[in-house]
Symmetry: C2
Subunit: 338 residues, 2 copies
């Protein structure tokens, strides 16, 4: 296809040294005299030589690349996380191969294999790790398998095991506190809206349940599973004729906005008659009118931290890392809460 033709031998010939010297110059080895280094560099610059990564990889078995697996890059939360990761990784000279897995297990497995086959140095998984209760072992088997090859870092997931590291935000606590504060404000019927059984969604649900139980309410009835689309949420809620609630907590901002649409269609005053809290603090939250109170889970911080840990493991040769770190969330109050 593209025959660069120009390789290390060409450079060696042009600058009158051996390929070993050229290689040393390229890799910044200090065992080269300043004179020859300069001489070789000039040639390299002049012809714009770049080493063939395949050849490099063949020998070194690494390509300075991190695989990032997301269920769907179209989700704004995932997209921003990928952006943060990429920005950070590049600073360390690592590149980023994206895998868009979809939500099903098969897709995840396939994409994981794909990424591994590219000889990534580490794998980062974002969200959507099922089996929070540890029961559904199948769903995490591919992660453990991957971890036998490269260190795996999970953002907002909880698979544990050898060579697996997780960074999570404290969703459970955040939702618990959000619900509790609503209760304190006298809300009687608080509902929790979620679209999945992901680890993160489960934690959020737990937070909700704990808050409800702490005041002697049953939580079960208040949990409603919805589709992650604004109008679907609205329509589903509107269709529930017996739905009576004065508070809604949503597992993401998209769903929260669906709830806002529901309340508005129903003619309910926000926040007087009904409070709504979203999650992720994305642009969606402020795009709405009224602007949605949302929980910020500090994605940027988590991503940066994750990259930091990856680098410590890869570059620094640190062989033990905390397997799990937690980052607290922050409630950003806006117009959908009192």
């Amino acid at each position: 296809m593209n025959k660069d033709a120009i390789n290390i031998y060409d450079i060696a010939k042009m600058s009158g040294v051996s390929i070993a010297t050229v290689s040393r110059v390229m890799n910044g080895s200090e065992k080269v005299s300043e004179k020859t280094r300069k001489k070789v560099m000039e040639v390299i610059d002049k012809v714009g030589y770049t080493p063939n990564v395949f050849a490099q990889g063949l020998g070194l078995n690494t390509m300075h690349t991190i695989g990032v697996l997301v269920p769907t890059i179209a989700d704004p939360y995932m997209a921003s996380a990928v952006a943060y990761l990429e920005t950070e990784l590049i600073k360390h000279g690592y590149d980023c191969i994206l895998g868009n897995s979809g939500f099903d297990l098969e897709g995840k497995q396939k994409k994981t294999d794909m990424l591994l086959s590219k000889h990534i140095d580490s794998l980062v998984l974002i969200g959507s790790t099922y089996a929070g209760d540890g029961s559904d072992t199948n769903a995490t088997e591919y992660i453990r398998a991957a971890a036998k090859r490269v260190p795996v870092f999970i953002i907002n997931g909880n698979v544990n095991g050898e060579n697996i590291y997780a960074s999570v935000c404290e969703d459970e606590k955040a939702i618990y506190e959000a619900a509790t504060s609503m209760l304190r404000r006298g809300r009687k019927n608080i509902v929790f809206l979620t679209d999945s059984h992901s680890y993160s969604a489960n934690k959020k649900r737990n937070g909700y349940e704990r808050a409800m139980k702490s005041v002697g309410k049953s939580a079960k009835d208040g949990i409603i599973y919805v589709e992650n689309r604004i109008h679907s949420v609205r329509d589903q809620l509107l269709a529930m004729e017996d739905l009576k609630c004065d508070g809604i907590i949503a597992s993401n901002d998209m769903i929260a906005i669906g709830a806002v649409k529901y309340a508005q269609a129903k003619g309910l005053n926000i926040p007087e008659e009904i409070e709504i809290i979203g999650y992720n603090n994305s642009d969606l939250a402020i795009s709405c009118n009224p602007e949605v109170t949302s929980i910020d889970n500090h994605t940027e911080e988590i991503c940066k931290d994750t990259v930091d840990r990856i680098m410590r493991l890869l570059d620094g040769g640190v062989d033990k890392l905390t397997h799990k770190i937690s980052v607290p969330c922050t409630l950003i109050a806006r117009e959908t809460t009192v």
Copy 2:
């Protein structure tokens, strides 16, 4: 790092054939007897052998990978485009390396080099190609350079040249029609909001200008440059004390929502006193209240088509492709227009 150890020699030994035969089996060459093919396949399956892509790449100089360069993956439009591309590419056995370039030239150049160094088979650029008027040649030089190595496909950009192919949506026409319809409805002061000088933004601006001129209005005064953030747009407009408009056309939905916020802060009735039209028809458009009329530029279709053309060029050995195709846009009327 990870020593798979198991290579083609191992497979050859285990199945009692030569590495050439194993390679032929792996690559589906028909020059293998059914008997030995089965024998080899069994071994391969049993031990889960996968060829080393570096070694493959070294010889073949391709890795079945497409590079995708975006200014920022955090932008929902870009993210969805990447998702479409990825989904489509995978069907053809191609993977996707992401480059998040930022908006500056240096970032684009660097990321382009990075992608090229990974021996991508083709490069896809999404949006944000400057120099729509052909004047700023520096800004597109890196694209032409890249095109000397691999075919370059540009989504919503207009660099032309050898080995460069573009798929564009008809923004100019869409905006022209949007503005014209507003005029027909009796709007007197229509304003155009944009955040960049990208090719696409320029086309949109042209559409606006053409519409204004067609009724003898000056367009220049109506063009307002804003920052691509909801609250920034709102605040900027609010700060313009002499701003009098009864129609706003925005170059994307984020900006359109900023305009909605402005109108609401100003106490203007939407759409009676002021109409607003956004662009991209993203989730943001329906997240807002009122829901924003927006122009759908058929990203999915464009992306699919792009992949289709890439494959025709790469697989099919087609050596001539239309250099530019256009896809019309569709106005999705909602609550911010009469």
